[in-house]
């Protein structure tokens, strides 16, 4: 199993898509920085002050932590799931497409171990991706925007019901929590993509099917017609990762959603193992 893990890690590190995912995230951070800078300049400049007498968007509000929070929240929903789907979707289907799956399966390793190893590598990729992204945002925020406390207001980020504040050191800790909770949430996507990768023989098909399923549930979950169905979508529970940014973390609800996500992940993984063990590999 360890040798298998080592081999899979080598494959991951050698893949161009691995570096591409990090490069795109760097590009996103640059874009966010530009947007944040111009927005902050506009909101603390003359025009906004002339129009409205009072605002919480002061120079103290716009700091590196606020920048990192906005950037991570904006990207998590739509950007990171794409890379995780790509990584997981290519794990089994990619081998099938290149014709190496049959050969791997002739080696004295169980198919279950193979699926599990590939999932672990994908999980590592997801964790690295999110940790790198959060770290990069914090570093860029510190250098280009500056430090301060994290001020939260009801509305835009949908995090609090009343104005609140998280002190700088505590806020940094919260970003650490977000790396863990966010990775855990992304594992649902990884497990779904791996299942698609087992079912379909094309990595593109597996990735697209995963993203399509994710987007359909995400969009439908936001449409009022389907309000009663919302609790049954995994996309609803995946959102739990962000509650670590509430001034008082609702631990009970966090553990509940984390367990629901875990159940989805393990359930999908188990399904993948069962299907893969019975799969007739003809490529």
């Amino acid at each position: 199993m360890l040798t298998l893990l080592k081999l899979e890690l080598e494959k991951l590190i050698r893949a161009k898509s691995f570096y591409l995912s990090f490069a795109v995230l760097v590009g996103f951070v640059v874009l966010m920085l530009w947007g944040f800078y111009t927005y902050a300049a506009r909101k603390t400049g003359g025009e906004a002050v002339e129009q409205f007498k009072y605002t919480y968007e002061s120079r103290q509000y716009f700091n590196g932590l606020t920048f990192a929070l906005y950037s991570v929240l904006f990207s998590f929903t739509l950007l990171l799931p794409i890379f995780v789907s790509m990584s997981a979707g290519s794990q089994i289907a990619g081998e099938a497409r290149t014709g190496t799956l049959r050969m791997i399966c002739t080696r004295p390793i169980s198919r279950a171990s193979l699926v599990l190893t590939k999932f672990l590598v994908t999980a590592l990729h997801a964790g690295l991706l999110l940790t790198f992204f959060i770290g990069l945002n914090l570093v860029v925020g510190l250098i280009f925007v500056g430090w301060g406390n994290l001020e939260l207001y009801p509305g835009p980020l949908n995090l609090v019901d009343a104005p609140g504040k998280i002190m700088r050191d505590d806020a940094l800790m919260r970003f650490g929590y977000a790396a863990l909770s966010g990775t855990w949430a992304l594992l649902v996507i990884a497990a779904l993509a791996l299942l698609c990768s087992v079912i379909f023989d094309s990595p593109v098909q597996a990735t697209i099917m995963t993203i399509a399923a994710y987007l359909v549930l995400y969009i439908v979950g936001r449409v009022e017609f389907f309000e009663h169905l919302r609790p049954y979508f995994f996309t609803t529970d995946m959102d739990f990762w962000r509650v670590v940014f509430k001034p008082d973390i609702p631990w009970q609800s966090l553990w509940h959603s984390a367990c629901v996500c875990g159940a989805y992940t393990v359930g999908l993984l188990l399904t993948s193992v069962v299907i893969f063990e019975r799969k007739d590999i003809v490529t």
Binding site: K53, F74, L116, G155, L157, N158, C259, G267, V273
Partner: protein, 273 residues
């Protein structure tokens, strides 16, 4: 085989964890009544209709039902919104059997009026110019030995978040100037859309304006009806009673009170003085 067994065990563990940590559904019911001897009971109610109707202002045929709710709940003062004018207020005062006095605000650019009903016969009413709109303030006492109360009935723009922000800023400026001499309460339909999850965009200026407005009010006032739940159809909490940070007793949205095609429910707040 052992891999599948471990995964199955993990799955069971996760499901058990999810059940264990599940929270009971939040029920917005009536809260315990405050010590009635030294408290004030307020109601705010936009009695207008939903947008599906030709005339979305209050309908005179609903006034007996409105009066019934007021008489049953027996508030010290009521802030009403979307009346068609003084005639409707006079009808309502008549239906209240002389227990309340009232006034409507001056007409602004809109075709609807804010009003306040007060039990205290010595109450005074002051129109408050807020941009192109008018709010109405009533000053009164619940008992001769209690502090003077000022209740503002307000109604912010339904369609423009920037206008709501400007309105709120002016209203709070007016209220802050009176906070030293009396206990100020602001009640009304502010139309704040603070649930960003309902927006299709990740970040909009509209949500930001409402966030600024609401946060600005909370610098000086407490949102007394925060735990009462939605006050209007489509899961919206857009009617508020803001007041000093006093001990809050009963807070309730009277969900059976709406009649006809009203899209708001009255919000009742009882606060210790």
């Amino acid at each position: 085989m052992w891999v599948k067994l471990i995964l199955l065990l993990l799955l069971c563990l996760m499901i058990a964890g999810a059940v264990h940590f599940a929270q009971p559904r939040e029920v917005h019911g009536p809260t315990p009544t405050a010590h009635a001897a030294n408290s004030i009971r307020l109601i705010t109610w936009n009695i207008g209709y939903a947008e599906l109707e030709d005339d979305t202002r209050a309908h005179s045929k609903d006034l007996p039902a409105v009066a019934d709710v007021i008489l049953r709940e027996d508030p010290d003062a009521v802030a009403l919104q979307e009346l068609t004018g003084k005639d409707q207020l006079n009808t309502l005062v008549g239906l209240l059997k002389g227990k309340y006095r009232g006034a409507v605000a001056q007409q602004g650019r809109t075709d609807r009026f804010e009003a306040v009903l007060v039990k205290d016969t010595g109450a005074t009413f002051t129109p408050v110019a807020v941009g192109s709109r008018y709010a109405l303030a009533a000053s009164f006492r619940t008992r001769p030995d209690t502090p003077q109360i000022t209740l503002l009935s307000a109604h912010a723009d339904a369609f423009n978040a920037a206008a709501r922000r400007t309105y709120t800023e002016n209203l709070i400026d007016w209220a802050q100037a009176r906070m030293r001499s009396s206990e100020v309460f602001i009640a009304g339909d502010f139309n704040f859309e603070l649930k960003a999850a309902n927006e299709t965009n990740l970040y909009t200026d509209n949500v930001k304006h409402d966030s600024e407005s609401y946060s600005h009010i909370l610098r000086s006032f407490r949102d007394l009806g925060r735990n009462a739940g939605d006050t209007a159809i489509n899961d919206r909490r857009i009617d508020y009673v803001f007041g000093p940070p006093k001990q809050v007793g009963r807070v309730e949205v009277l969900r059976n009170a709406a009649v006809g095609r009203m899209d708001h429910w009255p919000l009742l707040v009882e606060v210790g003085l």
